[in-house]
């Protein structure tokens, strides 16, 4: 096995470990932190199925962002849509069998990749030219966009323009998945592509990309509006010791 392969096999496992452990740790943190008060952003659903629908609309349509800013919504949405198609397409590298709908996706794979790249570039441009967005941008916002642009760009290049040998890529990935590492193809774009992907995976749990999991824990959106009907009690906020204070209060001279 070449030194290159050994390096990338270790890099890959480290990155995946960081990603999974880090992601789960952050999710555990959100899940285990109490929400002591009812703070749904109203009008809010009055029962659980409504909350599920509200969440689905946010996750699949970016509803609030749509109401907030159509331009950011458009570029953000096409980027995420392209990303989704790209991620689904990568399924075939990790499994022997590809379902037919996945094969069907291949038809517009190129367009999906292009709109993803275009969306990312426009999001970058917005950060440069809109004074308000420029003001709030920090360096890591640019870095993440560059990272994603790099990943999308190399992905498009090696798939559609400077074709990498798909079979050897698949063997390499299947090898990783089955813990039976295989020689990796020494293709420049492929190497850049996976270097960036694993870098992103390592950075993911430390970064704002945690919005992907954190969105489900946002109390303003995941709470049911039923404060009058159902008393919310969390351990730290439960003991009403101050009620004692009031009961002992001396009545003012009346």
């Amino acid at each position: 096995m070449s030194g290159l392969t050994i390096f990338f096999v270790i890099y890959a496992y480290v990155a995946i470990l960081f990603f999974i452990a880090g992601f789960l740790y952050r999710i555990w943190k959100y899940a285990s932190t109490p929400a002591p008060l009812k703070i749904p952003q109203t009008p809010a659903p009055v029962a659980a199925p409504g909350v599920a629908r509200r969440m689905v609309a946010e996750v699949t349509l970016f509803k609030s962002l749509f109401n907030g800013n159509k331009i950011i919504w458009l570029f953000g949405y096409v980027f995420h849509l392209g990303l989704l198609v790209a991620l689904l397409k990568h399924y075939r590298f990790a499994f022997d069998y590809s379902p037919s709908w996945l094969v069907y996706l291949t038809t517009f794979e190129l367009y999906a990749g292009l709109i993803m790249l275009g969306g990312l570039m426009m999001l970058f441009l917005l950060r440069l030219v809109v004074d308000r967005t420029n003001f709030i941008t920090v360096m890591t916002d640019y870095i993440l966009l560059v990272l994603l642009i790099g990943i999308a760009g190399t992905g498009l290049l090696l798939k559609h323009f400077y074709r990498t040998d798909v079979t050897s890529v698949k063997e390499f990935v299947l090898g990783l998945v089955s813990f039976n590492p295989q020689e990796m193809p020494a293709d420049a774009f492929f190497i850049i592509h996976i270097t960036l992907v694993f870098l992103l995976l390592i950075y993911f749990p430390f970064s704002k990309l945690m919005h992907s999991g954190g969105i489900f824990f946002s109390p303003t959106r995941n709470q049911v509006d039923n404060a009058r009907d159902k008393r919310l009690v969390t351990p730290w906020a439960a003991a009403p010791e101050s009620i004692q204070i009031a009961s002992n209060m001396t009545q003012e001279e009346g």
Binding site: V46, E58, S64, H211, F217, P219, T220, R231
Partner: protein, 526 residues
């Protein structure tokens, strides 16, 4: 000459630097309102435009009375970080919102204080970032490793000074959260920031002094039970003189069916008292026994504004005590925005369970908003309204932020928008809504909520009121609107102050139950 200059050069303490305590405050008469055009434009940013607006810091007695340090503590950076660590463990909202903002920019043009001041640190994301910088620096691997590249910053005096400015230019109205893809609620963040500031000895005078009054005397105005009874008696006389009907304003009537909890401003501030008279007429005409309580003579609860759970709970516990004293079957809350949010969303948690164990009748919502109560009577025909009594008015309704985005009325989502409007329409022949983008869940704050209703930051309040004033100007021009109907004591106080500054008649500001009170037909029922 040199000597005099040296004498005059005072050495400022860190607290004075942070709070701008020695900076001259603008004279109220000098503060100018932005010009009204009838439309709301997103301005070009002007960094630092609002940096100098700071409320008065709480004097030592207003800190001690709250069990906060009386001045900026020596190791304040460490103490602040410890407090933030504690809050992150206590509030899911804070922990989640610190992490997941992607700085997309959707909220950047949604805050009335940004639109009015043009200061980019009044953009919700930038305001939240003032706290997020500290979170990143002390609590995240990203911030520890990457520092400023990741937006992490040490908590120094300069940043603390920005906190004191900008976290007191947020009215916690939640408008930004509506447009956030994740529902990030800047109110939660500004509450946490104020809680941290209080715990290192940097408090705000207005809010803290009011909470102390509430704890010690029982209401925000500092009116003792004797004064309360006197003012209610004189209002009773006024009503009888005006309408010839002996409408009562009872206090501490043990065993009354309804305990009415209302903001203390209703007892004698104007135009608040007009709504109070409205409530009394509704109860009178419905023939239901009711009472105020001198123990719970305040629905407002500024504990929320400073994010302090125990002060909020202690203030709310007066309501529970009043329920135990009066033993009412029903609990009704008067016109007050943040009070209704706390009553509707928090009371059950803070002082509950509000159920039969306290003698409350499960048939009715606990608590119930006065608008829910009155509209129900109207619909059942239990009270009659003569719309022509309000024919001189073309009213519009300003959705108060805390009611619109932090509570509900009625059984279905959005009842908090429909019920007050239906009630106005039942009381008046005419009605007009302001532009859709400025009402209901997208309503703008009055500019005085969240503990900003204090005159030393009148600039902030005027700037914050600007979008709402534009929308009102718009329907004044197009529909001749001339009555600005409210269900919030803070809104009422804020708008009576800012209307004249915007060249509008103060008399147009009023309450929903002011309209009801004018239209209600008193006397024997058919």
């Amino acid at each position: 000459m040199a000597e005099t200059a040296a004498e005059q050069e005072e050495v400022l303490t860190d607290l004075e630097i942070v709070t701008g305590a020695k900076e001259p405050k603008p004279k109220i008469g000098d503060v100018k309102a932005p010009e009204l055009t009838g439309s709301i434009k997103v301005p070009k940013i002007q960094p630092g435009a609002a940096a100098g607006y700071k409320p008065y810091p709480a004097a030592p007695e207003y800190m001690e009375g709250m069990d906060f340090p009386t001045t900026l503590v020596d190791n304040w950076e460490k103490e602040a970080v410890n407090k933030l660590g504690e809050l992150l463990k206590k509030y899911k909202s804070l922990q989640d919102y610190m992490d997941i903002c992607v700085r997309c920019g959707s909220c950047t043009d949604k805050c009335q204080f940004f639109l009015g001041s043009k200061d980019p640190k009044n953009m919700p994301v930038a305001r939240a970032d003032l706290l997020r910088k500290v979170y990143k620096k002390y609590f995240t691997t990203e911030g520890k490793l990457l520092g400023k590249i990741a937006g992490a910053e040490r908590f120094d005096l300069e940043l603390l000074g920005e906190w004191f400015s900008y976290f007191h230019q947020c009215s916690q109205c939640r408008r930004c959260s509506v447009f956030c893809p994740y529902g990030i609620d800047t109110a939660e963040i500004s509450m946490a920031a104020r809680e941290i500031m209080d715990h290192i000895g940097v408090g705000q005078k207005y809010v803290n002094s009011i909470i102390i009054k509430l704890h010690e005397i029982g209401n925000n105005l500092g009116m003792n039970p004797k004064a309360l009874k006197a003012t209610l008696e004189s209002t009773e006389e006024d009503i009888e003189e005006e309408d010839g009907v002996p409408v009562k304003l009872p206090v501490d009537q043990v065993g009354a069916d309804i305990l009415m909890v209302t903001p203390s401003a209703d007892f004698f501030a104007s135009p608040h008292v007009e709504s109070l008279i409205g409530y009394a007429k509704v109860f009178h005409q419905a023939g239901i026994s009711w009472t105020f309580s001198s123990t719970a003579s305040e629905a407002g609860n500024f504990g929320m504004f400073i994010g302090n759970y125990s002060h909020m709970q202690r203030a709310a516990s007066r309501i529970r005590k009043a329920i135990e004293e009066i033993r009412p079957k029903r609990l009704i809350v008067g016109e007050c925005g943040h009070a209704w949010r706390i009553a509707y969303s928090f009371w059950n948690t803070l002082i509950g369970p509000l159920d039969q164990s306290l003698g409350l009748d499960p048939k009715y919502p606990r608590p119930q908003h006065i608008c829910e109560f009155t509209l129900d009577l109207v619909k059942r025909g239990a009270i009659k309204l003569d719309k022509s009594a309000n024919d001189e008015f073309v009213p519009t309704f300003h959705d108060s932020c805390n009611v619109a985005r932090g509570s509900r009325m009625g059984d279905s989502p959005g009842g908090q928008f429909d019920i007050p409007r239906e009630l106005i329409k039942a009381s008046c022949n005419r009605y007009v809504d302001m532009e859709q983008e400025t009402i209901m869940e997208k309503t703008f704050c009055c500019g005085g909520g969240g503990g900003l209703l204090t005159d030393e930051i009148l600039d902030v309040r005027l700037q914050g009121a600007m979008p709402r004033m534009q929308a009102y100007q718009n329907i004044k021009d197009s529909h001749g609107a001339n009555f600005f109907a409210l269900i919030c004591a803070i809104c009422k106080a804020q708008f009576t102050k800012v209307f004249p500054k915007y060249g509008m008649p103060m008399i147009e500001v009023g309450g929903v139950h002011q309209l009801v009170g004018r239209a209600i037909e008193l006397g024997a029922k058919e």
